[in-house]
Symmetry: C2
Subunit: 216 residues, 2 copies
């Protein structure tokens, strides 16, 4: 018998499955708002253009079972997905680089609904240090290590100018940050135990522009 079994009781979901779960959640929430009680994987499949057997497999990682010929209970599945995806917990985060994009994220109430609790911003600009955005204080980047401990922060949202991204990421990791949500287009290098998620929104623009050219 393997003693680790109880400790690591949560099954590791393959990342493509994990990426699909928020799509299911979005659709199920809509059904829930429309007071739909049950949904089958075939119905979800038709709506989202994902293979029904794949959906059943993805959802098998959750603590819920569909009923034959009826399907999944919508409201229960919504709750299970929200829980599984970690949106119900509060994850403390800081924004590093409180310029236009960083400041915008500090103002976005949507993030809190998805479990992200931004507790502080950091900058090098003396005009911003000491001020606040939506009640969230902005500190000097030099205070990062100290504040990380004070607020018990695991996630740093990186919205600095691209030329500083690696250096600031290194500072954040030294300060005890466990995950970096990188909004810069720079490929951050980090030790394997640090989570790096890239959301380089400007790069998506290139894809839109290019597809538009090829569509004509």
């Amino acid at each position: 018998m393997n003693d680790n079994k109880n400790i690591a009781s949560r099954p590791v979901l393959p990342e493509p499955s994990l990426r699909r779960l928020p799509w299911y959640l979005a659709y199920l929430r809509m059904l829930d708002n429309q007071h739909v009680e049950y949904v089958s994987s075939t119905q979800i499949s038709k709506e989202l253009n994902v293979d029904a057997s794949q959906i059943a497999k993805d959802l098998s990682f959750l603590n819920i079972k569909g009923k034959t010929r009826i399907g999944y209970e919508v409201s229960t599945l919504v709750k299970e997905l929200v829980d599984f995806l970690g949106f119900k917990k509060k994850h403390n985060a800081v924004v590093i680089g409180t310029g236009s994009l960083g400041g915008a994220l500090m103002q976005d109430v949507g993030l809190a609904q998805y479990g992200l609790n931004i507790v502080a911003g950091f900058d090098v600009n003396n005009q911003l240090i000491g001020t606040s955005i939506c009640g969230i204080p902005i500190y000097d980047i030099n205070e990062l290590a100290e504040r990380q401990k004070e607020y018990n922060v695991a996630i740093a949202i990186l919205t600095v100018p691209v030329e500083h991204s690696q250096e600031v990421a290194d500072t954040a990791i030294r300060a005890g940050i466990k995950a970096i949500w990188n909004f810069t287009p720079f490929r951050i290098k980090a030790p394997a135990n640090i989570v790096i998620a890239n959301t380089s929104i400007y790069a998506h623009l290139a894809i839109i522009y290019n597809r538009m050219i090829n569509n004509h």
Copy 2:
């Protein structure tokens, strides 16, 4: 001879290559700021963890050639990439849903630097209609078709509540929009000639939370 050859003279870049180009650009801009004159694909490879031959292949789509043993001229490569990626042109866009995320994007000056020119916002909320954000007017969603013509807008940035995303996307397409940058977690359905790019930032949070659990 094929007469279309001159019209469609731009080679169609495979999308994985297109996704890598902004990484190269970010790194090259950094080198350019440091007044580095030449860079080899081997150097880029080491820095970005992409195979050197892949980099050479990706860059072969651009109107630039590296020199043997010297590499690419950094400043020229930056210019070519900016041009190729469409960041130098002005692409008119509207934001549909001017709540916290939509409003935040309207305030983000970074988007303009990547060729996105947000000319108007649209909402259903009477408290927002008639106001403006950073000088960008907010109109009633019912005026979308009319304003699309007035401003000659091709791109709609979709930041509405998830339950309205499909319906609003349909409205935008009827109004003449050619591309939808979808920030909602809903999988929009659209005709094949419409470009859909998904940037569902909240879904990325699920990936961060999940990886953090598995890293411990």
